[in-house]
């Protein structure tokens, strides 16, 4: 063996070891714990009325969050990359802040804005709109903690995207909409998908801020992570891990799907994950206005 291959081997095992030690082993441990009682027990645990409605509420809220974040995140990323305006640097610096703030504090911040004694809170209450301690509060908390994902995954691809491709389409007569849809979107799609999927997965697991801003009433405003916390606190670790593992399974499937959607066709992957070879999409002449 040459030193070169030795070095490669060392690096590879370091990477595998790192991921295994930090993520894989704990995952196996918790999965093992939830399946100790058998698959029937697992299904029973996740289908109790309180567990299943917490799971449904979580998936629902995470989905809404993802859609909102995809739309406004994309717009924000385009604005931050393409347009020069005073204070852009400041806005850009602000984007990452949700990652740095402890999520419990995030919850306190949201409660401080929408609380019943604040101006906004009073106004909303008069209008009969309940944000805090209700479902909109959950989505708001999820949005806050996942805000950077779409923006930060889109920014680099948008910057790399050559303006001249769009300009070429434009000068060939494509409408701005067609240009956006047929040139801009496909080029930034991997970045967008990464942002969207990460948003969804991160929203599923959010706890700290939601426990403060949601009402936490079982089967009404209680999300899965808060349910899990309650089961741990009331000495039901089995019920808690089952629901956690269910959320983990969904997250894992979503991330595998992301891997499949964003990897280039040439990547060495198991057959079921591989793309069929296909030509790059082209603008059809009929679409050029």
């Amino acid at each position: 063996m040459t030193t070169h291959t030795l070095l490669q081997l060392a690096l590879r095992s370091a990477a595998v070891g790192y991921v295994a030690l930090l993520i894989l082993f704990p995952l196996v441990a918790i999965a093992h714990q939830s399946f100790v009682g058998g698959i029937d027990h697992f299904i029973q645990d996740i289908s109790t009325p309180q567990a299943s409605s917490a799971l449904i509420l979580t998936l629902e809220s995470a989905f809404i969050t993802t859609v909102i974040n995809a739309i406004f995140g994309t717009l924000s990323a385009i604005v931050l990359v393409r347009y020069e305006f005073p204070g852009r640097w400041f806005l850009n610096a602000l984007v990452d802040l949700p990652f740095a703030i402890p999520t419990l504090v995030t919850g306190l911040m949201i409660a401080a804005i929408y609380g019943p004694t604040t101006i906004l809170g009073t106004w909303l209450q008069q209008g009969g709109v309940s944000v805090l301690y209700d479902k909109p509060g959950i989505v708001l908390a999820m949005l806050f903690v996942t805000m950077p994902f779409t923006i930060r995954s889109l920014q680099p691809v948008l910057m790399e995207l050559e303006r001249d491709q769009e300009e070429a389409a434009f000068s060939l007569g494509a409408s701005p909409w067609t240009t956006f849809w047929k040139v801009t979107v496909p080029s930034v799609l991997p970045g967008l998908l990464t942002g969207v999927f990460l948003t969804f997965v991160r929203a599923l697991g959010e706890f700290g801020s939601i426990v403060i801003v949601a009402g936490n009433i079982p089967m009404k405003t209680q999300v899965a992570s808060v349910y899990v916390y309650g089961e741990i606190e009331s000495y039901n670790p089995q019920g808690a891990t089952s629901v956690s593992v269910f959320i983990l399974l969904i997250s894992f499937l979503v991330l595998v799907l992301l891997e499949r959607l964003t990897r280039p066709p040439g990547e060495r992957m198991p057959p079921w994950l591989r793309w069929p070879k296909r030509p790059l999409s082209m603008i059809r002449p009929s679409e050029i206005g």
Binding site: T48, P49, Q50, S53, A111, G115, P116, T117, L132, Y133, V211, I212, G215, N216, I217, P218, M219, K220, Q222, Y229, G230, E231, I232, E233, S234, Y235
Partner: protein, 348 residues
């Protein structure tokens, strides 16, 4: 750092470790739930240290940690080697016993191992704008109620027990003087009271403390919580008022030494003395200062400085059949509270 200060540090270290070796400074680890923290840190621990020094000439260093009662119990089971546990629920000590760490019967001590007491009470906004007097008022439409989630908070278990037990008492009252309602009809009434109040619950926080924070943020008209959570706050001029319903539950919080740990640390003597000290007049006065009731008040022993009148229809956990019975009856998979939240969510 100069050579001389380094030398001084070294000298201090030698003297310090020497005193440890000579058995003059000993260590006791305390795991407590968060509510009485101030009483322990400010009064009880220093007083105990003085007493122990007087009696034995030894210094005791007490290392204490405070947190949610259930979380502390789980930490101890998981390896936190505390010598003494002061928790809010008997059930949490039972879990430690079940794990084999407490091997003696902690309930045989004075007051059955209980060291502090309180009652479940109501907090309302200043001037009581909604005119809350008793439990039925919490069930009125348009009244917003706060209490934490019994799944995460021992305090909330006491709250729900208070409502359910009050329902049983109110059923007796409704049946008329001298007549006793059948157990089934009393239970049905208690469940319906619980359901009508739960319907008005707006937020269920993780803990009693958080519930108070939410209440102070302006949410809700009534908060159901420990009397001792409300008293010190009202004393420090927070804008709310305390209402003690006539039908409410007597709360007691246990303490016990953890056999496996005290034996390993060779501190059984200190731990026993500490638990005994918690029953002393001095420690009880510190609890009372913080808004607790003197232990044993319910048993009819008049204690010095007991300024808080006892509610006329006070009941205890034992009156309801003990924790084991009541927690299955209320919080089990088919329990009254469990089915109440499920029914309410389904619009029943």
């Amino acid at each position: 750092m100069g050579a001389s200060s380094l030398f001084a540090l070294l000298l201090a270290w030698i003297i310090f470790s020497g005193s440890v070796l000579a058995g003059e400074t000993r260590e006791l680890t305390l795991a407590g739930y968060s509510v009485p923290k101030e009483a322990y840190e400010r009064t009880i621990i220093p007083a105990f240290q003085r007493q122990w020094k007087q009696r034995t000439g030894q210094e005791v260093r007490v290392r204490s940690s405070y947190g949610a009662s259930g979380a502390q119990a789980r930490a101890i089971i998981g390896g936190f080697d505390a010598d003494v546990a002061v928790l809010s629920l008997e059930g949490d000590l039972d879990q430690i016993t079940k794990a084999g760490l407490i091997t003696h019967d902690w309930r045989t001590g004075p007051h059955k191992g209980m060291v502090s007491a309180s009652v479940v009470a109501l907090g309302v906004r200043k001037g009581n704008p909604k005119g809350i007097k008793g439990w039925e008022d919490l069930a009125r439409p348009g009244v917003e109620v706060l209490y934490p989630n019994p799944k995460t908070s021992g305090g909330a278990m006491w709250d729900v027990v208070a409502i359910y037990g009050a329902g049983l008492k109110l059923a007796e009252q409704q049946a008329g003087a001298g007549k006793k309602p059948s157990p089934e009809s009393a239970e049905a009434f208690a469940t319906s009271l619980l359901k009508r109040i739960q319907k008005n619950v707006k937020v269920m926080d993780k803990s009693g403390r958080e519930s108070v924070t939410t209440f102070e943020r302006g949410v809700g008209d009534v908060i159901v919580t420990y009397e001792n959570e409300l008293l010190p706050r009202i004393k420090s001029h927070r804008p709310y008022e305390l209402i003690v319903p006539q039908e409410t539950v007597w709360i007691e919080n246990p303490a016990a030494l953890i056999d496996k740990h005290v034996d390993r640390h060779h501190v059984r003597d200190i731990a026993e003395a500490f638990v005994a000290f918690l029953h002393s007049e001095e420690a009880q006065a510190a609890f009372t200062e913080l808004g607790f009731r003197p232990i044993g008040q319910a048993a009819g022993q008049p204690s010095a400085g007991a300024a808080l009148p006892l509610p006329t229809k006070l009941f205890t956990i034992a009156d309801l059949g003990g924790w084991e019975t009541i927690s299955t009856k209320l919080f089990g998979p088919r329990g009254a509270w469990t089915s109440t939240v499920e029914d309410l969510a389904r619009g029943k």
